[in-house]
Symmetry: C3
Subunit: 316 residues, 3 copies
Amino acid sequence: MEKFLSVNDVQDLNEIVKSALSIKANPEAYGDVGKNKMLGLLFFNPSLRTRLSTQRAARHLGMDVMVMNIDKDGWKIETEDGVIMDGDKAEHLKDAAAVISQYCDIIGVRSFPNLQDKEEDYADGIMKDFVKYAHVPIVSLESATRHPLQSLADLVTIRENSDKPKKKVVLTWAPHPRALPQAVPNSFAEWMNAADDVELVITAPEGYELDPEFVGEATFTTDQDEALKDADFVYAKNWSSTTEYGKVVCKDNSWQVTEEKMALTNNGKFMHCLPIRRNVVASDGVLDSDNSLIIEEANNRTFAAAAVLKAILETE
Amino acid sequence: MEKFLSVNDVQDLNEIVKSALSIKANPEAYGDVGKNKMLGLLFFNPSLRTRLSTQRAARHLGMDVMVMNIDKDGWKIETEDGVIMDGDKAEHLKDAAAVISQYCDIIGVRSFPNLQDKEEDYADGIMKDFVKYAHVPIVSLESATRHPLQSLADLVTIRENSDKPKKKVVLTWAPHPRALPQAVPNSFAEWMNAADDVELVITAPEGYELDPEFVGEATFTTDQDEALKDADFVYAKNWSSTTEYGKVVCKDNSWQVTEEKMALTNNGKFMHCLPIRRNVVASDGVLDSDNSLIIEEANNRTFAAAAVLKAILETE
Amino acid sequence: MEKFLSVNDVQDLNEIVKSALSIKANPEAYGDVGKNKMLGLLFFNPSLRTRLSTQRAARHLGMDVMVMNIDKDGWKIETEDGVIMDGDKAEHLKDAAAVISQYCDIIGVRSFPNLQDKEEDYADGIMKDFVKYAHVPIVSLESATRHPLQSLADLVTIRENSDKPKKKVVLTWAPHPRALPQAVPNSFAEWMNAADDVELVITAPEGYELDPEFVGEATFTTDQDEALKDADFVYAKNWSSTTEYGKVVCKDNSWQVTEEKMALTNNGKFMHCLPIRRNVVASDGVLDSDNSLIIEEANNRTFAAAAVLKAILETE
């Protein structure tokens, strides 16, 4: 694997899930794969799970890690081409990416959208420029449009929890006080569509339809109750409006995933990428129930990241 | 040892002091104890000594370390149970603790008191919730009420510097421009009381009496000069008022530990946990004298932490 | 080598350049030199290249690293001697340095000038106090007056790119919207003067003459075009005015290094320490040309740092 920005970078989806599970079963078995190699983790935005799980993943492979909050530990980065840099940005991304790629064998980058201009966000400029200017493989730690390490962990978690040949997976929008990126739902839809054992249904209020590029063959409905019927897995997530990009247009609390809602499912498992606003996105009752997979799902972040790093290290 | 929040978690005080001294004598002798293990260090508050000494301690044991300024690198953490999380806090402590404990074999947590509400602070909620929700051992890197890694280093330092069967140790309040936590003096008193070779005297102005839970059998006096007489060790520390919790009610500079004060002692050694405000808490003359143990005391932080981590790793 | 603050700490300039190139040729060859040793990197100021390249350098030597943004992860540090510390500074540098040196085998320190008071800045107090109070070797990660790791990387880069017995190297001032430290040009001049294969010419507008201590035997001219004639290497850098210390007195854009300027040289190579303001300090055309060495120069930071750490480790 030469980079990891989306499901399209994965040659064999079933193989990488198996690889993650194999590392999970025996985390110390691959401790030489990354020997003398350096992973750089660059954060333009906050991170807890991704920051810690990816570090742990690297160490399972015997790989060293350097972590940098690039905008706080360093300075502001210019991304426009050809500009006269006389403002507040001290370094151009093209230089930073080329330089950092000399200190690292793989670079992970987290860069959220600004939620001001959809076209700009969806161009995913920072991630693409890192791919363009760095001389080493780039791993997305969540871009403006996708969060593939999360999606791989999600698929691992689904397969661990059901061997049904066709699982009904429902991605449901849920309320949130702030406008959030669309990266997690986009990416989740993309990965579920790519999996051969998943039937994906997406449900959200009007004005929250995801981009057709990500929805693909999935069913979309604004009727959450209808969607939840017979679901094997319920994946809750807030995202900002798509028709009024970057805005909160629906605050309808009836979209919260509650025990009543879960009762509509086929004894469905509950999933969320975390962090989660309890009793806003989903109720304590759901989150703390036996059917909640949120903690194990976060655990699988380590092994998803390890499988990705291993695939890249073995390609080089 | 299954956790390390207070002296009560230590089964044999003399053994753990010996263990620290043994690691100090030969820091590379235990380099396999923590192999393939991960220590996570989570800071809700600033840290210098604890941050660096605990990392070094882990590396002496061959243990990996991840450091996170949890509120700056991540986001604000909710600690109340059952609340509707529609404010500024993005993640619940119960989820964060459970998740992080999957990435780490031991978690260290630093969380200071708010100094607004004594009852709330003394409930030590964050530390206790970490113990409750994490699946791995928790090490206090200083909580709202205690700083046990410091206290263990203090006891190690005292034993290194005197083999008297009964040493007179004086914990004296000292002035400071800001209101400080009571964790260090509480913890110091608790550990000194638990040691069989220490006679503890506590001296502070009226309104600064420590909680009886920590004072225990120690003598308390508001007469600093009387307290210092024949002292073998003088441990200076500021703490905020206890009667007017979280406030500075005494600014009396005569409490500063000076060379004149030290002359009252039995050629006593001077100790402080650092950082110290020079010429406020104690004078340059005292701090830079041959009887000052402050630098060696800080050095012993590494070996105290290593002894604690080793005891935990050997218990698992 | 017992410390690394300037070229004067290097016993044999040719040897250390050779050592850097030898590590570059085979980065894994010296993986035991730093075994069980700890490097502490302390940043009072932002850093990207230095932060990452020095970490990587240490890991090439098998050395562990702890990184601390000392003023953000900790608290403000007092540097004045004998003061009553009742202000906003919580710890004295003499204590911090002595303490940290117990947790590390080598300490790297970055501390920029304040650009308010030249005399104070040029006293380089923080760096000198670390040397004075720490018990282990200090490596400058850029002080108020010098940036020796950069200068060593620069010399390595020059020697890699020309074997002429005498290379004409031009250090040229260039415009910048903000007032910048003089550490890089000072240090560069000092190292070029110490190299036996370099003829150094310095060019800058009036009011930007560097201190005689650093200019040494180099030629100084305010005529940039004249200086650039027949240059083998052009080293561009902004620095703040020297006659009006810490101020921007010249904003003359004709000092920008453009393709037209480079055409005056002997097919000269272009160098800059980065970060660089594109189309302010130098044009895109220059920076992206085949004669631009900026990325390789940054790469050499790793091997310069490794050579320095190795020399120190082998001295101990």
